[in-house]
Amino acid sequence: MGEMIKMVVVLTVLSVVSGGGLSWLKDFTGPKIENQEMNLVKGPAIRAILKDSEKDPVENRFKIQDGETERNIFVGVFNGKPDTVILESVANGFADKVGMVVAINMTDSTLRGVAVTTHKETPGLGARAKSDPSFSAQFAGKPLTVPVQVSQDGGNITALSGATITSRAVCAGVTKAIEKYNELKPQLEEKIKSMGN
């Protein structure tokens, strides 16, 4: 009996100490990890789509509450007007989730650009969604009202040859981002106004 209690006590104490220590560590490293992600993964992609923005969109970002989760919104300023927002989005690709950033021009409701940030697609095939600029360039200027689909599905995006699944995933991610944008639009407009830029 005594041994039984000892086992339970030792395991409990170990788990509690470990869990407590790790949750403190998470609070400590969380903001640093987010910064690293911003600088090394999302930052370059975001700056590439909004390279003419008068303010750095990575610095010029805010968080917005969307149900349970917080979303990062990046704002691009053109001709003195903060009229472009970037939303993050993910969709299921061929191998794993494909993460992307989607820039939307708020004034004329068009896509300003799309860039893939994280993926595990096949090098040389699906990976071109990130590396081949002519693929992502197709999205720029498309109005939000037209469904974003590859041409095989009746849309007007030419899929990467040999990587239709990845191309579909990018389209699905863009569609999700547009849906989210329409849903959050009033909140976004208010928030941008209150930023005063």
Binding site: L11, L14, I33, Q36, L40
Partner: protein, 207 residues
């Protein structure tokens, strides 16, 4: 006493060097050694986990009931692995991305659990720390040398840094006419490079 601490440390460097003499921990050995940089990063991460878990297991060896010792060891090891993972993500993000799933997999690295079970749970703190550090440094050296061989053959140059410090860059070591042997940095190249290094090490008799 001092002599045995030194002996425990040095055995990990040659006599019991993990991937070559013990042929343990082959999953990260084959998986991450596509470059010297990744090999060193993985080796140092494993060394940290080995050292900390050996010290803690040795410290708690009289408290841990023998029936649940493996569970306790795993909790301790897993905790330190998460510490390494979080710190690496916070301070060496590109390395963290390169190593990917192999960092969490240190939890199931048989070297770490093996040292906790076979050594730290039976010995004092100082010798356990020396043992952990020795095996860890040996593992780091093995991964670094295997990584260097593969990177050299695969790309013809060595390039990188160690956790953002000590950048090194040696390009075109074999001269500009060298055609990179891309096979060496792919998965089968890992087996062949490891096999050749094992063979070379076995040619040197161990005392």
């Amino acid at each position: 006493m001092a002599k045995s601490i030194v002996a425990e440390f040095t055995k990990g460097l040659w006599k019991e060097i993990p991937p070559f003499r013990l042929v343990l921990g082959l999953c990260p050995t084959l998986g991450v050694t596509t470059s010297m940089k990744n090999g060193i990063g993985m080796g140092l991460a494993t060394t940290f986990v080995l050292l900390c878990s050996n010290i803690l297991v040795s410290l708690l060896r009289k408290v841990i009931p023998s029936k649940v010792r493996i569970a306790c060891f795993i909790i301790i090891i897993a905790t330190f692995v998460i510490v390494v993972e979080q710190m690496m993500a916070a301070y060496a993000y590109t390395l963290f991305m390169d190593l990917g799933v192999f960092i969490p997999l240190i939890v199931v690295n048989c070297i770490v659990l093996g040292r906790a079970e076979a050594f730290a749970s039976k010995n004092g703190i100082a010798t356990s720390a020396a043992d952990g550090l020795g095996i860890g440094v040996g593992f780091t050296l093995s991964l670094a040398s295997l990584g260097a061989v593969r990177e050299l053959l695969g790309t013809g140059s060595l390039k990188g840094d160690i956790f953002g410090f000590l950048p090194y860059h040696f390009s075109n070591i074999f001269g500009s006419s060298f055609e990179p042997f891309g096979f060496a940095v792919q998965a089968p190249g890992a087996f062949i490079a490891l096999g050749l290094m094992l063979c070379a090490m076995n040619l040197i008799p161990s005392k």
